[in-house]
Amino acid sequence: MRLEAIPNPSLSRRFLPPILALIATVFVASFLAMVAGGNPFAVLGLIIKGAVGSKFALLETLNRATPLIFTGLAVAVAFRAKLWNIGAEAQLYSGAIVAVLMGTGALAWSSPALIPAMIICSMSAGALLLLIPTLLKTRLGVDEVVTTLLLNFIFLLLVSLLLEGPLKDPMGMGWPKSARLLAEARLPRIVDGLRLHWGFGIALIAAFVIWIVNTKTTFGYAMRAVGYNAEAARYAGMPVNLIMMQTALLSGGLAALAGFSEVAGLKGTLTLDLSPGFGYSGIIVAMLALLHPLGVVVAALFVAGVFVGADSMSRAAGVPTYLADIMLATALLLMVVAVLLTKFRIMRD
């Protein structure tokens, strides 16, 4: 068995394999649900119901998708330029810290002034945080996979330090959490009465903007050129290191927005469990989306739906939520294979 390249894949060739990958994922999940003692149809039904079956479920999924869109975009932008940013988790927390620093009473501004200021400052924090590993990479050749990954742990400890110290809520009865954000610093809901905040709206806008940047601007063109072939980009006169740093600023900023939107939109406060690994899930989201910004939205909704649906299924059917992790891992693996099949055909010997 071997692979043969297809020069001009047809439309069905491009879209069928990914769809089949999703169907296959469902089969694997059903089998595992059965092993765990559940009825596979009931389990899948419960997951879907839990993800989109009611207004509450749907809103929960959208809320969960919001930070994933941000981190997914952050990873997609960086990976496209072959900047291996594994540190979206740290950048997320840097955005959250800035949101708390500015939103808990330090600035007595009204919402229209305060929220944009918080967005800009959060993004700057995340941007600068990714700039450090990028400078180490371009100047000294230090592998950014290692540095960005390690920064995640450093930042989690920093957050812990802050929550036990200067940022600790005096009214928190000893819990390691920050003070609550002022009402002016909170992101309003998109529709009154529905538990969905503007973070989701900003995420959609961000995805659209990144798509435009990628396809229509010279910066997007340069980012892709550097990612595909840095040598040719340098030969053609592109400022490769500068483009790398600009990419880092954009990627870090996007990841920080995830932290900002979780604090200012959803939680209202900073705790150590603000992110259940959104930074890492962002990598899955970006890969599932094949690094396409609009695909990131779809992939984030899928990943969020699986998580939310599995939570609810677990309560009803007694099958562990680990099923969600397995489903996502299976989906990712199969998607990688499916993408291969959009470009190659399998030849039998």
Binding site: E4, T217, T218, G220, A225, Y235, G237, R348, D349
Partner: protein
């Protein structure tokens, strides 16, 4: 007539609308060298990939030693005794020669046991075919010619009885080609059969007994080399008789670019320059000859803006250049045709359109306020495809699907379109077929006629002698004094290439 070892019967292969091979039938006899001749995109490589099981033919049959090969199985071709040396080598750089040779020949468990025996076998083979090689050398430390030897040894080690060589001389110096031919002759005498893919006519005439000519995927003719002539082959290959472009006399204009006692640091892949002076005038082609790796890359990188002099000065229009970068080089009106069109010249996964604007994506008319004007870019690309005869499905095609010649045509078009003042042509015709080579030469001569300054760097002495008004020779980072067209013999140039003439010059100038 000898025993037929390989038979291709009615091979047809389509890629979409493109007919890569159409009903091609060939016979290869034992102990014979069969040359497969054809232009870029004529279907030579596709045919060999089918034979070797890398592609599956739409119809047709491959028969080796009387047995039909299952289609699309490289393993079967290998087992049947077919070995292929690809144009782009498939060696692991960080492994030794021996490790590369035995890679994949035995199961992992028996690895250690086979080492000693394999070394013995390898040395025997090397001895038998006069392929001098050190089995313990790292491949990364070998020259291109030596790497090719390893590839051939790899095939022989796998007991190949039929050897396919895809454009083996494209990357070799004349001396290396000579020694390759000796090896091939040796091999056929010992009973091997060889398919030699090429588009260099004099090589084909020299090494092959039989020539099969492909054009547009069809087998046009099969000729005995003793009954044909290079002219006839050329005509068969391109469909109509071609002549190399004529060089007209022309007076040179003012000095445009000048290297004044330039020295550079040696880069990891190229020798640094030592006190080099060169003068490039308008309306003339300055040829830089020399064996590869003697400082040519440094001169090319210097003109392209990738490196700056550590000592000495680079002058443009009589003014010293202070700020120098690839971008500055582009902005100064220097057209750069890079040596490595796959890595430096193009981005494989970008479309033709995206590749044509790569040097000018920030400038009018392709950009305005940070937005790319894709309409202008595509219009420009359509124009290049039309004017420079780039054979491709369309401007949206990824450039990796183009043949080397068509890729080079796009690069030529991209840099020549705005009538550049200086043209840096680094190995512009390497690996191209006759038609494409003549095309490149014609375009360079046209630019010269328009008054452009051209620096032609080539390892092909014939190319240098044919085109250049002024000739320099590079050797060990030094550059010879200029020689006028027709005032120097190849033997004299050879003296400079080997470095001997430099030594003589130094003793002459010694106090």
């Amino acid at each position: 007539m000898g025993e037929v070892v390989l038979r291709l019967e009615g091979i047809t292969k389509n890629f979409g609308a493109l007919k890569a091979n159409e009903n091609v039938s060939l016979n290869l006899e034992k102990g014979e060298v069969l040359a497969l001749l054809g232009e870029n995109g004529a279907g030579k490589t596709t045919l060999m990939n089918i034979l070797f099981g890398q592609y599956t033919a739409d119809s047709g049959r491959v028969e080796v030693f009387g047995k039909t090969l299952p289609p699309g199985m490289a393993r079967a071709a290998l087992d049947a005794g077919v070995g292929m040396v690809h144009q782009h080598f498939t060696l692991a750089h960080n492994l030794s020669v021996l490790e590369n040779v035995i890679l994949g020949t035995s199961s992992l468990w028996s690895w250690k046991l086979q080492y000693k025996q394999a070394r013995q076998q390898l040395l025997e083979l090397a001895n038998r075919y006069h392929l001098k090689i050190n089995p313990d050398a790292k491949v990364s430390a070998l020259s291109v010619g030596e790497r090719q030897r390893v590839e051939i040894l790899k095939a022989l080690f796998r007991q190949a009885k039929i050897l396919i060589l895809d454009e083996p001389t494209a990357v070799l110096t004349p001396q290396e080609t000579e020694s390759l031919f000796k090896t091939l002759t040796e091999a056929t005498e010992q009973g091997l059969s060889i398919i030699f893919i090429s588009h260099k006519l004099h090589e084909v005439m020299k090494i092959a007994q039989k020539v099969a000519i492909l054009r547009h995927g069809k087998l046009i003719a099969t000729k005995e080399t003793r009954e044909t002539s290079p002219n006839e082959l050329a005509a068969l290959m391109v469909g109509n008789p071609i002549r190399p472009p004529a060089v007209t006399e022309r007076d040179s204009g003012p000095v445009v670019m000048e290297l004044l006692n330039v020295s550079t640091e040696s880069q990891h892949h190229s020798k640094g320059l030592k006190n080099v002076s060169m003068r490039l005038c308008s309306g003339e082609i300055v040829g830089l000859a020399g064996v590869s790796g003697n400082g040519q890359t440094s001169i090319a990188d210097l003109v392209a803006g990738l490196i700056t002099p550590s000592q000495g000065k680079l002058h443009l229009d009589g003014k010293p250049i202070d700020q120098w970068s690839p971008r500055q080089s582009v902005l100064s009106g220097i057209a750069r045709i890079p040596e490595d069109r796959h890595h430096a010249g193009t981005i494989a996964d970008f479309s033709l359109t995206e590749n044509s604007i790569i040097e000018r994506y920030r400038d009018q008319p392709f950009a305005r306020h940070g937005w790319v004007n894709w309409q202008a870019a595509e219009g420009f690309t359509q124009e290049l495809i039309r004017q420079y005869d780039v054979r491709c499905p369309g401007p949206d095609t990824r450039i990796r699907l183009l043949s080397g010649g068509n890729m080079q045509k796009l690069i030529l078009g991209r840099v020549l379109q705005n009538d550049p003042r200086v043209i840096l042509a680094h190995q512009p015709s390497r690996g191209l077929d006759i038609g494409a080579v003549h095309y490149v030469h014609k375009k360079l001569l046209e630019a010269r006629q328009k008054g452009a300054t051209i620096l032609l760097i080539s390892e092909d002495l014939d190319e240098i002698l044919q085109l250049s008004d002024i000739i320099h020779v590079a050797s060990a980072g030094r550059v010879s004094p200029p020689f006028q067209r027709g005032k120097v013999t190849p033997t004299e140039l050879g003296g400079w290439m080997s470095g001997a003439a430099f030594a003589k010059q130094e003793t002459l100038h010694a106090p």
